[in-house]
Symmetry: C2
Subunit: 552 residues, 2 copies
């Protein structure tokens, strides 16, 4: 029997933390941070879940690719956000989709779109279901006659590999391991390894501007896309396959980040790389996060483009059994399919030492440095992190993250304010002390992408409400201090209020116009990205205001 | 007296080829390629040019920033395309703008936009006037009551420099030398050096997706933009200043490449770099262009990111006095503000030698290798090239270029077909043999940006018509063989028919919708990018067709 995805948490049935890892997690949270759960939730069995009667039946021509089986409706009721997790354990499935459709090709998609449009049903595109921002949660109110989830995972093939140009045409529903397996015989790799790698799909990555393996240079999937094909209710859109272009605004960049609100990404040509042959990883300890950030800035501005240059603060190391809380860890690594990376690492090391770092593991003596010391310990924990939540949510413990990006000149203020806001919000909302940590997931010459994690015990009866109160406070702080509401998690439903503040008002109007044209009945992923009529947004500032500000 | 721009060619009055350079140019074209001019055109004096009576007078509140002086109307009648040049020498100024406005700030721009909209006048944004694709040529038919050119060059200041993040806020009307002068005291540089550097403006570069100095990695200005401010008839739009983001489709990428059709780019935060301290340049000779292209592919796919990796074919070297036509030259250079670049060059050199290159100048022995040998000779000629046309056009000799980009797998077919089409079109149209050459202006891991140049003698009485016949043939070939109609010259008016074929039809509709919202009266740069009503474009293929194609 084919392995099934869990409907209550990360990954496939049968996977999760070992009893030993579970005990270590709980003992660390309790012992180091005083975070103890008071809940006693348990996974609701499929049979116990009350699903609403399906309001829509697929027509004969489509029935064979549709299902209304309870497991499928349950699985497609949520993504992987903290509120999703809380609601699963509350067995809150009143918004379950009426139908789940598994198209085999673009013709199927066109037929499903037409059916949905005619029926007045909403259509939610679904890839790996790994959205942590409510992007695939079909809780859309009662303006639609029904909800159809369009699961893309049957369109999962590598259609063509061009070894000369190092590019491949891959279907939108291919998960990370599937597409890498298709590329491996050609000696090629996409090298896009977000934490969602095992579950998420290429189309989902493109739709959400996923952030992957590389901490510098090619950070977002945006940079790896050569052309995109999208099927919309208004027809098909395919951009030309080009290594670069200057012909008008980029059509790819309209589709990249469109989060299922403008169309279904059916396939894409993506840029590949040779498989890594040379690599080096080094770790350095710093007494202080800000000081370590200075080293990251130096390395990022040196033009070395490391595969990885991350810092992880003491709290996050401690929470994951990779440190005692007394130091910040900087991990830097270089990888190449072409040449030894020693000269690159030499210079990065100089930057780290110049900024007061001390070696954690010596990269020259340890080709496997990425598996050793605090570096290796944190890496092990990182891989298991997504499994923590199914342990913690039923105990009433929030385990969540949020990420942003900010220019270096504003980073310190941003960091201190956002961190303190999070600590304070947890205290005020829950009455408990939480654990708040920060790392850099990516870094650019002009600024880092700080990634915050927080844990706290809640009142299990108000867990969802308390989560929202904390979320609102930290999101306000992120926007008020100049950051982006998301660096790579996407907007989804959860970030929509802050996205509306962040984007230029007139750009919101343009997006709404684009949606009116491509999705005239407004059936695609309602509530995501576009929820305003054009003209409701305000221009950001008047030219008069801007002139006063900038012409000094 | 302030130096004035030439209205008949490149650069400022008093500049141009020396008599000796002029003689060398003509003697090479005649002696090596048999191209001899038959025309005897001359520069029309301002007094001789018949300007139509201005149809519009600026209102009192704006009059002080407007001019209707003949030199200004003449200067703003053309850009720097081949047809522009031909028409200047034909003294064809019937489409001269009625008014030229020089706004000082965004308030001025808003006032001018309002005036133009009320008056039913078209408004043409103008930076350096260096468009080679008719992007600023206000020849827009008779649907408008008048034409106003908005010259941005009074908004030319560096407003703020953030050395920590390596970024600066610069006004849209700043020319290359002005903005670099503002950055130099801070030890910073934008390092965007297109051939238009001396004349063109930051806003113009952003509006046209300019391609600059770097042949790899940061090729287009797109990559250097941190945020953009744009004033549109519908209001002001300003994107948030972020090093990276995953929040919906990028608002910057709608404004980048908008070619004055959606709004006026008034200022932008751009990413800077430290001034170069280490550099190395090497040259290699190859017997064959295709073989040299193989070396460029190897270097581009090695992850080395050279500042420059160009090949120049024998014809182009010969036409510029930098070779005898018997070899293709590969130039590769590395530059860094941070570290010596020897290890990078070592590996690039291996790639060049592996592919059969032989050294032109030894980079180890010659720190000034970029000034020596064929490398140095071509570099000298490259700098003077834009001045050639004012010599050649009056003789009836076409001197033009076009550029594209194509993936490596299709490059050879593309190159041979486009080159042969150009040679054949010249022969068929003019009855003469031309000189057709190719180089790479930029290179990506997945493909090069081939840059073609051609010279040919025409019938001086039909020069414009003959140019269009050749242009149509080569543009059809570029599109038919999978390329982009422009890699970095932009679309303008000249490329519009092929741009309409290249872009996804539904994306054309979305652009038209965006324009309807931002420029409801359709006054901005008419005929550029958007000339269709939404819904007139056809979807590229139906899903059924696509399914048949891709699901094998």
């Amino acid at each position: 029997m084919k392995k099934r995805l869990k409907y209550w948490g990360w990954g496939y049935e049968g996977e999760g933390l070992s009893p030993r890892d579970r005990d270590a997690l709980l003992s660390t949270l309790s012992g180091e941070f005083g975070i103890r759960g008071a809940g006693n939730g348990r996974i609701p069995a499929i049979e116990e879940i009350i699903l609403p009667v399906a309001r829509l039946q697929p027509p004969a021509g489509i029935a064979s690719i549709c299902t209304q089986e309870p497991y499928e409706r349950v699985l497609h009721s949520f993504g992987q956000s903290q509120p999703d997790s809380i609601r699963v354990f509350q067995a809150d499935f009143a918004h379950a989709p009426d139908v789940v459709a598994y198209p085999r090709d673009e013709s199927d998609i066109a037929a499903i779109l037409e059916w949905a449009g005619d029926a007045g049903a909403a259509l939610i595109p679904f890839g790996g279901g790994s959205s942590v921002v409510g992007g695939v949660t079909p809780d859309i109110g009662d303006e639609y006659t029904a909800t159809i989830v369009l699961d893309m995972t049957r369109m999962n093939r590598v259609l063509e590999v061009d070894r000369v140009s190092r590019a491949a045409l891959i279907q939108g529903g291919a998960r990370g391991p599937e597409l890498e397996a298709g590329l491996k015989p050609h000696g090629m790799t996409l090298r896009h390894f977000p934490q969602s790698f095992r579950l998420a799909t290429l189309g989902g990555w493109i739709a959400t501007r996923s952030g992957g393996h590389f901490a510098t240079l090619y950070t977002h999937i945006d940079d790896l896309v050569e052309s995109v094909s999208m099927v919309t209710p208004a027809g098909r859109m395919e951009s030309r396959r080009l290594p670069g272009s200057g012909a008008g605004p980029s059509p790819d960049r309209l589709m990249i980040g469109s989060e299922g609100a403008l169309g279904i990404i059916t396939q894409a040509w993506v840029r590949l790389q040779g498989r890594v042959r040379f690599k080096a990883t080094a770790g350095f300890r710093f007494p202080d996060f800000i000081q370590a950030a200075g080293a990251v800035r130096a390395i990022s501005q040196a033009g070395l483009f490391p595969a990885n240059v991350r810092i992880v603060d003491g709290v996050e190391l401690q929470a994951n059994g990779a440190g005692d809380g007394s130091f910040t860890l900087l991990v830097v690594s270089f990888e190449s399919a072409d040449h030894p990376v020693g000269p690159w690492m030499d210079r990065a090391e100089e930057c780290a030492l110049d900024h007061g770092g001390s070696p954690d593991v010596d990269w020259r003596a340890n080709p496997d440095a990425h598996l050793r010391g605090a570096v290796g310990a944190w890496r092990d924990a990182f891989i298991k992190m997504p499994y923590n939540r199914e342990i913690l949510t039923p105990l009433g413990i929030i385990s969540d993250t949020f990420e942003s990006a900010i220019t270096w000149d504003r980073f310190e203020t941003f960091y201190h304010n956002v961190r303190e806001t999070t600590i304070r919000a947890i205290r005020e909302v829950t009455g408990n002390e939480g654990a708040v940590s920060c790392r850099f997931s990516h870094s650019y010459p002009d600024g880092p992408a700080p990634y915050f994690a927080f844990h706290c015990a809640t009142d299990p009866n108000s867990m969802l409400k308390q989560w929202w109160e904390v979320k609102r406070a930290v999101s306000d702080a992120v926007i008020d201090h100049g950051g982006t509401i998301t660096h790579h998690h996407a907007v989804g439903r959860d970030h929509q209020p802050w996205y509306s503040k962040q984007r230029p008002g007139l750009f919101g109007d343009v997006l709404a116009r684009a949606k009116q044209h491509l999705d005239p009945k407004g059936i695609l992923n309602p509530g995501v990205l576009v929820h305003d009529e054009p003209g409701q947004n305000q221009p950001d500032t008047t030219p008069e205001q801007a002139s006063r500000v900038t012409v000094k």
